[in-house]
Every structure is written in structure tokens, then in C-alpha cells.
């Protein structure tokens, strides 16, 4: 493992992510639609959390709040012990570029389609203010030899892999993935599960929205969400 990817935020015992009383609602022309209500969630450093819930239950919304991509309507958000509820946009941007990476459901949404595989890696590192992690990382993430390929030449699973590799290359501590296997075939999904395991082993804090049994099989903490509320009662079932 290279020097860069091991320099993580020093451990202080606080959770990596902490939500308290988070509400999110969308206002339409007629009414306000609550999507998340009273969500409390703590994710420790290096923890692997799977977010499960029916369609429309608010998984993606919750991930966006965790990824500092959306602000909650009320409640507070802490990242590594720092309250960012009222942080300015520049600070959120800095956190997003260096510490928290959101991986979207659609593989194409996570990559610059006009850059080659290696260039994507370099571009993401540049955005985080880091040096190019180089072909070694690709090799390690099982993408060896694809460096000069255009991203479209990769399978969906390889694309999601590359997206996760980019997060590693950028040295982010937290990776949030929204149903990363849902649009993939069997083989591709396995690649992603494998990569997520790798990330977990690297000590990356992972929150993944998914129903994929292969993921649940890795033994993460499962958080269930329904109608915008977390169900603490059922939360334990998953860990069992």
C-alpha cells in the first residue's frame, strides 16, 4: 500500500459520520413532502454499513446528506467530530474533494467519459490535491492493463470499480455508494463486491445502499429504512 492511501484522518474516537435528528423534505408547488424524518445515525471509522429499504424509502436521500451533497432541512451533521451543519459551501467542497466520496448508482455518472481509465484516476487525485496514484493502484484494484482504455471499454462492474479506485486514489476516508451493483450483471456485481471488501480492508468507512445479498453476506452492519425513518429494532437483524 502506498504512502498516500494510508494517511487517513487521525483516529480520535469520534464517529466518522454522525447524524442527529435529520429531516429532509422536498417542497412541491402544493405541499412539502417529508422524505427523511428524525434520522439519527452514527457510523464509526472503518465501519461497513449497508443501508436497506424499499424503493422510495429515502436511501439515496440519506446518502446524499451523508456525502455532504445535500443539506438536511433540519438536524445536524458531523464529519469526524466536526459539525458541518452550518459549514459554508467552500468547506463542504473541501470535505467532498478530500474526505467523502459519493459513488452514484449509474456507473457512467462517476467517470469522465472523455478521459482514459488512468486519466480518470489522475483527474480525481488532482481534484483532491494529490499526486497521480499511477498504474500500481489500478493493478491492485484489479484493473491492471486497462490504463489507456477509454472508460466505455470497461464493463459496468469495472466502471464502478474504477470509481471506487478513484476514491482510494483521492485518499478519501469515507465512501458512500448508492446501489452500486443494481445495474450490473452477475459477474460485474461480484467485481464491485470484491472491491468494496478491499476498501473495507483498507480501513475506508463505507456506507452502501443495497439489497444485494452478496454484500449482506460480507457481514456489514445493516441499517433499515422505511418511509424516511430508521428502524432501530430491525437494525440488529442484519448484524446477526
Amino acid at each position: 500500500m502506498s504512502e498516500q492511501t494510508t494517511t487517513r484522518t487521525p483516529s480520535t474516537g469520534e464517529p466518522a459520520l454522525l447524524l442527529r435528528g435529520v429531516d429532509v423534505s422536498y417542497s412541491t408547488q402544493l405541499t412539502r413532502v417529508p422524505v427523511l424524518s428524525g434520522v439519527d445515525l452514527a457510523v464509526s471509522r472503518g465501519e461497513f454499513v449497508v443501508l436497506a429499504g424499499p424503493s422510495g424509502s429515502g436511501k439515496s436521500t440519506l446518502l446524499r446528506v451523508l456525502a455532504l451533497v445535500a443539506r438536511p432541512t433540519s438536524g445536524s451533521v458531523q464529519v469526524f467530530g466536526r459539525d458541518v451543519t452550518r459549514a459554508g459551501n467552500p468547506e463542504l467542497r473541501r470535505l467532498r474533494s478530500r474526505q467523502v466520496t459519493l459513488v452514484y448508482q449509474n456507473p457512467g455518472d462517476n467517470l469522465f467519459d472523455y478521459l482514459s481509465v488512468a486519466e480518470n484516476l489522475r483527474a480525481r487525485a488532482q481534484l483532491a490535491g494529490r499526486d497521480d496514484p499511477g498504474p500500481a493502484l489500478l493493478e491492485r484494484m484489479g484493473l491492471g492493463g486497462t490504463g489507456t482504455w477509454p472508460t466505455q471499454a470497461l464493463s459496468g462492474g469495472q466502471q464502478q470499480r474504477l470509481a471506487l479506485a478513484c476514491a482510494v486514489g483521492a485518499g478519501t476516508d469515507v465512501v458512500l455508494a448508492d446501489e452500486p451493483t443494481s445495474q450490473l450483471d452477475q459477474r460485474s456485481a461480484e467485481l464491485v463486491v470484491e472491491t468494496l471488501t478491499q476498501l473495507h480492508e483498507l480501513g475506508v468507512t463505507l456506507v452502501v445502499a443495497s439489497h444485494d445479498p452478496r454484500l449482506l453476506g460480507l457481514g456489514p452492519r445493516v441499517v433499515r429504512i422505511r418511509d424516511g425513518r430508521l428502524h432501530p429494532g430491525v437494525e440488529k437483524e442484519g448484524t446477526a
Binding site: L92, L95, L102, G108, L115
Partner: protein
């Protein structure tokens, strides 16, 4: 530079349509800006050109006339002038020397003449016999009058015996051009001149011979003796400085300065009392050019600024469209912590180059196409730099707008609290902006009604009220806004149009309704374009026609040649060779007693007037018809004992049954018309046959549709005399009309740009909806809709847009131009007032263009349907 930015310029090529749009936006903006600069700058050039072409070639430089006390003085002045001319870069000086009118005796008979000399004169007269340069050259008129011929030696009481006649030359005419132009007053007797004021010159080709006539100083000292005996003692001296016409205002200003310097030199060295006149005609030309340019600038500048602001808004739309197409990438960048401003610079790197290339192309196009709009093709020094600067500033502003718009929109899209804005926007949409422009239109309409042009006496150019000038455009903008709102409102409710059972209509209207904003926007834009073009064309046409009509009324015909002043019964007639295109009118100034007023009596021949009189304007022609039939009827009804002469009053002459005019003339008004060819003051038009035979006509004039030269030839060939001539095309100074034409000509440029924009956005809108159209069209075809129905439905959809824009735009534009045109009268003292001509050509072009655009757009849409593969479309 980070990779996504570094690669941006290349990435742009993946979406050539975005590049094209950006390039086009840059082009249009730069075109408008540089066209405005070139246009305004060339107004000064055009005005200088126009003015310089109106004065004699020899009067472009300094114009000096003096009467030194003695001949030596003239010679001295000429050499001084030559020196000064050389010093200030003139090629030389042409000196003319003219005595007063002398009585020359040829044996028994005698005739009046001036003795004259001018540098190079022998090349400039047509010799009919003889040609030796050591004697006198006498005009044919004098030879005929006195019977003098080659070899005869005239005598003069003061000068004694003069040298022999060595040539007879053809009398000079007023041509308003060439070598004699500047001397016409001195060498061609005027019709109203008294006999001692002017006479044709007897030329002395050798200046030294002329010097020998100089009487001893004693005679000069006794100037009191008798005018006609001593008038040979002084020489009116003209100093002319031939020079090429300046082509730019800068050249004109330089020439003006050099000319001033020469005039100042001469003024410093010659006794002030010696000067008849000295000055520089260019003075006034430059001043007029400045005024003309100021007027046009005043009118064009606000309009250009508004257009450019709208253009920058268009640039913002390009930016919004870019963000829409690249939302995915923008979101990715933003998710990874890139600021909205940096996303803006990402857009800049993609679109900046095409915008800059487009700007350069716009500057180039405006320069190349200036022949189509600018008053002059000549580029002033540095004007391209000015235009380039304007384009540069604008390009910088465009790039700024691109970055700022993308940044702001990205901010709103990704990080702003969402709900505040949409409400504000939906409220903004409800504000009736047309009311604001409507109120402005009313305001400017009121100012227009008070008079948009104020013509001060003595001024050539009218003062212009720019607010009033904006009236027709404001009307068009307001109507475009109202139409857009009305169309939008109708489309929202179009589902109620259940009475339209035909599927083609249903499809077409449904599609229109679905595209909503786009259809409304394109319609408004196209309507605006058509309206602005109609306004520009209408006012320009009105000014052009008004200039023609007013100069026609001023002169009375294409050419007017004064032929004498005899009594009505003296048998004055038009020679047969030109009779079929000419008529004779006689003019007398007289006064009537009650009310006391100076009036003109215009004697016409009702049966021939239409052959020569100017009938080029519909209103004037019908006035002539009316007047002639009134005169004929009155003449027929007249008893033999009636002494009152039937008269048609024109231009505010008093009405009355028995108006007593001078020389025993009694007029009785039998009709009244607003204007009549050749009439510019209160006048009674009377028929020649009804006027008492002893009535003296001050001037007989041949009015003709032929050029003056042909008329003069015809008259002279028939043995008649001609005194002076005027031609319609040069009689009236066109500069005030041109100034208005230049102003609205630029509006036509803007209209053209709008039209190009409207057409492009229509085609683009169809191209953008291509997949959607293709899918729904292809599905409809599969569901059994016939292709013909589909084509008709597109024709309904696009025809509604095109038809609405063309019809409403043309009607409103022409109507507004009509309202404005009559108030924009640079010469209100001359009838008729300007009126926008029925734009036959414009309407035909509009019709063809509308059909072509609707046809092309339909073809584009239907082609997409026919080539669509439904399976692929659905999967994508």
C-alpha cells in the same frame, strides 16, 4: 491545469452543435457591434461624400474672390496664391479675371460683354470658328447680335481699340460641373440679372494682352465718372485650387485645414477691402457631416446597446444550454468538490474558442458586407481598430457572461436552497413586460405626434428626437410581446379546441402546445424580426420616395429650363423635337390686394402639362388631374365676357371670387389642391388660354421628363434661348433624407440579424426535439397515421408560427412605419409628406422566405421520423 479543464477544448468537439451555437452567438454579437461602429463611422464619410459631390470641383479647396484696385493687384494676388498653394500642398492655382460689363462697339452695332481671362480657358470652350490665341474670343451670342466676325476690332470708349477677334466660341451654359462650374455666376448671365449685371464674356486668351487694357491710373481715380465706363478698370479675380475630392472625413478635415491656411495667408497679405469673398466650402460640409453622424449615432446607439444586451442574454442562454447538456459532468465535478465558478471556467474552456472565432468572423462579416448597409464603403483610418475594440470588449463580456451564468446556474442547481427561486421566477413570468414597452411606445408616440424632426430655418439638417424615433420599434416589440403572451395563453387552453376534428390539426396543435415556451419564443422572435424589417424598410422607403416627390414638386419635372420672359401671347412654345415629353409653364410674381399677399401665378397648358410635369408621386399626380379638370371645366363654362381668370389655388393661396392681382388680372378660384409640380409658395394655377393676352410672364420654363441637356439642345436647335436649368436629382439637398435613411437602414440590419436568429432557432428547436419527434412520429405511423397527415400536422405547427410572425409582423411593422414616416419629414415646407410605400418586394420576399423556412423545417422533422428506428429510440 487539472485534466477536466485541460481537455475541455477537445471535449467540445464531441458536441459540434454546441460549438456551432456558441460560434454563432459570438458571430451575431460581434456583427451587430462592428456593424454599428462601421455604420456610424461611415455616416460621416457618406455625408462628406454627398456634400462634396454637390459643390463645384474647383471649390473643394479654398474659394477666393477679390477685386483688387488694379490689374497688377490681381496678378500679385495670383502669384501670392500660387506660392501659398505650393506651400500647403495644392497642385496650383487657377486664376480667373473678369471685368464688369462693357459696351463693345463693332462698327455700327454694339453689344455688352465682359472681358475675361482664365488659366487654361482655351481648352475649356468649344470654338466654332477661328482659334488664334493672340486676339479676342467672342461668344456666338455676341457675334450674332452684332454681326461681328473674325478679324473685326471692337472699340470701347475707355479702352479705345481692342485686338481683333480671333475666335468665336459657343456660349457657356450652367452645367453645375467641371471647369466652369465655380465661375458660372461670372460667365453665364442669369435670367433675372439686369443687363449691366451680367453678360457673356469676351475671352482674352493671353493674360498680358488683358494687362495692356489697363487704363492709366488717372481713370481709376475718377471712379465716380460713370459706372459702365470705368468697370473695365477693376478685375474681379477668382482664385481656385483644383484638388481631388476627399474620400474620408479625415482627408476632408486635412484638406479643410490646408485650405484655411491658404485663405489665412491671403487674408494676411491682401487688403481686406479687396475681398469679395474668401472661405472654405468644406467648413460647412464637415459640420453637416458631424451633425448627420451625430443624428444617426443618437438614434442607432441606444438601439445597438439594447440589441447587444439582448445578445448577451442570448449568450447566457447558450451557457444554460451547455449546463443542461453537461449536467452529468457538472454534477460529478461538484460532487468531487469543484466550485460552481470553476465549473463556469470549465464551460469557458469549451465554448470560449468558438465564441472568439465567431466574434472574429462577425467582425469580418460586418466589414465585408458593409456594402449592403453602410452609407459609404470607404473605411476611415482606425475604424477597424475601433470595431475590433468593440468586438473585443463584447467578446470579453460574452466570456464573462458564460462563466457567470454557468456558475450561478450550477450554484442554483446543486447548492442553493431550492424553493426560493422557482416562485420568484414564476412571478417574474407573470409580470406583463409588454405593458412597460407599451407605455414607452405611447410616450414616444406622443413625442412623435409633437414632431420628431424640428427643422430650424437656415439649418440643413433637422434636429431629431431619438425617443420619437423609437416609436415604431417599441410598437413592434409590444405587439411581439402581446402576441407571445396570447399564443402561450391559447396553447395552454388548446385542449378545448375540440371542434378541430381533423387529425392533422389536432397533432399540430398538440405538438405546439407541448413545446410551449419554444414555440412562443420562436414566434415572438420571428415576429420581431419581420416587424423590425418592415419598420426599417418602410421608413427608408418613405424617405427615399419623399425625397423624389419633394424634389419633383420643387422642380416641377425631371428638368426645368428657363427660356425667357415674354407676354402670354408672344407665342412662346416648346419645340416639336421635345414636345412629347415637355410642357411650358410661365411664372409671375404678383400681389393681390385683399387680403394683401405676395402670390405666384403659374400659367400652364392643361392639355400638355402631363407630358412634362412631374407626376411621379400618386398624390401629386391626382392633384394635377384634379387641377387640370377643374381648369378645363371652368374654361368651358366661361362666358366670352368673363374677365375673371379661373384659378386653382395651391399651397395656401387665399380663396376668393374676384381676387385682384397686379397687372389687371382678376382671379376666381375654382378649385384647390394641396400640392402641384413646381409650386412651393402660395400660387394660383391658371390655364394659358384664359389669361389676358398682355399679361407679362416673368419666366417661361420648359418642364420636361428629359435630361436638361437634351431639352437645352432641343430648344437651341429650334433657335430658342435658354437661360438656366435645374434637374430634379440635384435640386434638393438629399442629406436630411439620407440621414433618416441611414438611421433606419441600420434598423434594417438589426432586423436581418433577428430574422437569421429566428430562422436558426426554429431549425435548432426542431433539431433539439428530433429524437422526441422521431419517436412519436414513428409510433404514430405504426399506429396507422398516414404520412400525409403527419406532414400536414407539421405544416400546421410550423405554419402557425411562421404565418403568425409574418402576418402580424408585417402588418404591425408597416403600420408603425406609416405612422412614423409622415412625422419624420426633413423638409416639411415641401409637399408631399413622407409615406411608407406599400412594400411589394418586401412582402413577396417575406412570403417566399416564410414558405421556404416552414417547408425546410417540416422536411427536417419528417425526415427524422422516416429514418427513425423505433426499437433503438425506445431503448435509448
Amino acid at each position: 491545469m487539472k485534466l477536466p479543464w485541460k481537455r475541455a477544448p477537445l471535449v467540445a468537439w464531441r458536441q459540434p452543435s454546441s460549438l456551432l451555437v456558441a460560434l454563432f452567438a459570438g458571430l451575431v454579437l460581434a456583427f451587430v457591434a462592428s456593424a454599428a461602429v462601421l455604420h456610424v463611422s461611415s455616416v460621416r464619410t457618406g455625408a462628406v461624400d454627398h456634400n462634396v459631390s454637390r459643390f463645384c470641383p474647383h471649390l473643394r479647396g479654398p474659394a477666393v474672390e477679390l477685386v483688387p484696385a488694379r490689374f497688377d493687384g490681381s496678378v500679385a494676388a495670383a502669384s501670392m496664391a500660387a506660392e501659398s498653394a505650393a506651400e500647403h500642398g495644392f497642385d496650383g492655382v487657377v486664376t480667373g479675371l473678369y471685368t464688369g460689363v462693357l459696351m463693345l462697339e463693332f462698327g455700327e452695332s454694339a453689344g455688352r460683354a465682359k472681358l475675361a481671362y482664365r488659366d487654361g480657358l482655351t481648352e475649356q470652350v468649344t470654338v466654332s470658328r477661328g482659334g488664334g490665341t493672340d486676339g479676342l474670343w467672342i461668344p456666338e451670342s455676341l457675334a450674332e447680335l452684332t454681326g461681328a466676325d473674325l478679324g473685326d476690332r471692337p472699340r470701347h470708349p475707355g479702352l479705345g481699340e481692342l485686338p481683333p477677334v480671333t475666335a468665336v466660341y459657343q456660349d457657356l451654359e450652367r452645367t453645375g460641373d467641371g471647369y466652369w462650374c465655380s465661375e458660372e455666376k461670372l460667365v453665364v448671365p442669369g435670367p433675372m440679372d439686369s443687363e449691366w449685371q451680367s453678360a457673356a464674356p469676351v475671352f482674352v486668351p493671353d493674360r498680358d494682352v488683358l494687362a495692356s487694357f489697363q487704363p492709366p491710373p488717372a481713370v481709376v481715380d475718377e471712379l465716380e465718372v460713370q459706372w459702365e465706363d470705368t468697370s473695365h478698370a477693376t478685375f474681379t479675380t477668382t482664385l481656385r485650387f483644383p484638388v481631388d475630392a476627399p474620400t474620408t472625413p479625415e482627408e476632408a478635415a486635412a484638406l479643410h485645414d490646408r485650405s484655411r491656411a491658404v485663405v489665412d495667408d491671403l487674408s494676411a497679405e491682401l487688403a481686406p477691402e479687396a475681398f469679395v469673398s474668401r472661405g472654405v466650402y468644406l467648413d460647412r460640409s464637415l459640420q453637416l457631416a458631424d451633425e448627420s453622424s451625430r443624428t444617426v449615432t443618437l438614434a442607432v446607439l441606444p438601439l445597438t446597446v439594447v440589441s447587444l444586451l439582448v445578445g448577451l442574454a442570448g449568450m447566457a442562454a447558450v451557457a444554460v444550454q451547455w449546463l443542461q447538456r453537461r449536467t452529468g459532468e457538472a454534477r460529478l465535478l461538484w460532487t468531487h468538490g469543484v466550485s460552481p465558478l470553476a465549473i463556469g471556467t470549465r464551460a469557458l474552456l469549451e465554448l470560449g474558442v468558438p465564441v472568439l472565432v465567431g466574434s472574429a468572423a462577425g467582425l469580418g462579416l460586418a466589414t465585408l458586407a458593409r456594402g449592403l448597409y453602410a452609407p459609404s464603403l470607404v473605411l476611415r483610418d482606425g475604424v477597424l481598430v475601433d470595431a475590433g475594440l468593440a468586438v473585443g470588449v463584447l467578446a470579453a463580456a460574452s466570456l464573462g457572461v458564460l462563466v457567470a451564468t454557468v456558475a450561478v446556474r450550477a450554484h442554483q442547481l446543486f447548492q442553493a436552497v431550492p424553493r426560493e427561486r422557482s416562485r420568484a421566477v414564476s412571478r417574474l413570468r407573470l409580470v406583463p413586460w409588454e405593458l412597460a414597452t407599451g407605455a414607452l411606445a405611447v410616450w414616444s408616440g406622443l413625442r412623435l405626434a409633437e414632431g420628431a424632426l424640428t427643422v430650424e430655418s437656415g439649418e440643413v439638417l433637422p434636429r431629431v428626437d431619438p425617443v420619437a424615433l423609437a416609436f415604431p420599434l417599441l410598437v413592434v416589440v409590444t405587439i411581439a410581446g402581446l402576441t407571445a403572451r396570447g399564443l402561450g395563453w391559447t396553447l395552454v387552453r388548446s385542449h378545448r379546441l375540440s371542434s378541430w376534428r381533423r387529425p392533422a390539426f389536432q397533432f399540430g396543435v398538440r405538438r405546439l402546445a407541448a413545446s410551449g415556451g419554444t414555440a412562443v419564443g420562436v414566434t415572438a422572435l420571428a415576429l420581431l424580426a419581420v416587424g423590425v424589417l418592415a419598420v426599417g424598410g418602410g421608413v427608408v422607403g418613405a424617405q427615399r420616395d419623399a425625397f423624389d416627390a419633394k424634389s419633383g414638386v420643387l422642380v416641377g419635372a425631371e428638368s426645368a429650363v428657363d427660356v425667357g420672359n415674354t407676354t402670354v401671347n408672344a407665342g412662346q412654345a416648346v419645340p416639336a423635337s421635345i414636345a412629347d415629353r415637355s410642357t411650358l409653364v410661365g411664372r409671375s410674381t404678383t400681389s393681390i390686394a385683399d387680403p394683401p399677399r405676395e402670390v405666384t401665378v403659374l400659367v400652364v397648358e392643361p392639355d400638355t402639362f402631363h407630358r412634362g410635369g412631374w407626376l411621379g408621386d400618386r398624390r401629386v399626380a391626382s392633384a394635377v388631374d384634379e387641377a387640370m379638370s377643374a381648369l378645363r371645366e371652368a374654361e368651358a363654362a366661361r362666358g366670352s365676357g368673363d374677365t375673371a381668370v379661373p384659378a386653382v389655388r395651391v399651397s395656401g393661396a387665399p380663396r376668393g371670387e374676384q381676387l385682384r392681382a397686379g397687372s389687371g388680372l382678376v382671379l376666381s378660384t375654382v378649385g384647390e389642391v394641396a400640392g402641384f409640380p413646381g409650386v412651393t409658395s402660395p400660387t394660383y394655377v391658371v390655364a394659358r388660354d384664359t389669361v389676358p393676352s398682355g399679361f407679362r410672364v416673368n419666366t417661361w420654363t420648359v418642364l420636361s421628363g428629359l435630361p436638361a441637356a437634351e431639352v437645352i439642345d432641343g430648344i437651341q436647335a429650334a433657335g430658342g434661348w435658354t437661360i438656366q436649368s435645374v434637374e430634379r436629382t440635384t435640386a434638393l439637398d438629399g442629406l436630411p433624407f439620407l440621414t433618416m435613411q441611414w438611421t433606419f437602414g441600420f434598423i434594417t440590419v438589426l432586423g436581418t440579424v433577428l430574422a437569421v436568429l429566428a430562422i436558426t432557432s426554429l431549425l435548432l428547436a426542431i433539431e433539439v426535439r428530433r429524437r422526441q419527434n422521431a419517436l412519436s412520429g414513428a409510433l404514430s405511423l405504426r399506429m396507422g397515421v398516414r404520412l400525409r397527415t403527419l406532414v400536414s400536422s407539421y405544416l400546421v405547427e410550423l405554419g402557425t408560427i411562421g404565418g403568425l410572425a409574418a402576418l402580424v409582423g408585417a402588418a404591425v411593422g408597416w403600420g408603425a412605419a406609416q405612422l412614423a414616416a409622415s412625422q419624420l419629414d426633413p423638409a416639411p415646407r415641401l409637399v408631399p409628406a413622407p409615406a411608407a410605400p406599400v412594400p411589394v418586394l418586401f412582402l413577396s420576399v417575406l412570403l417566399v422566405a416564410t414558405l421556404a423556412v416552414v417547408g425546410a423545417a417540416t422536411w427536417l422533422a419528417v425526415r427524422a421520423v422516416r429514418t427513425a428506428r423505433v426499437g433503438e429510440l425506445i431503448r435509448e
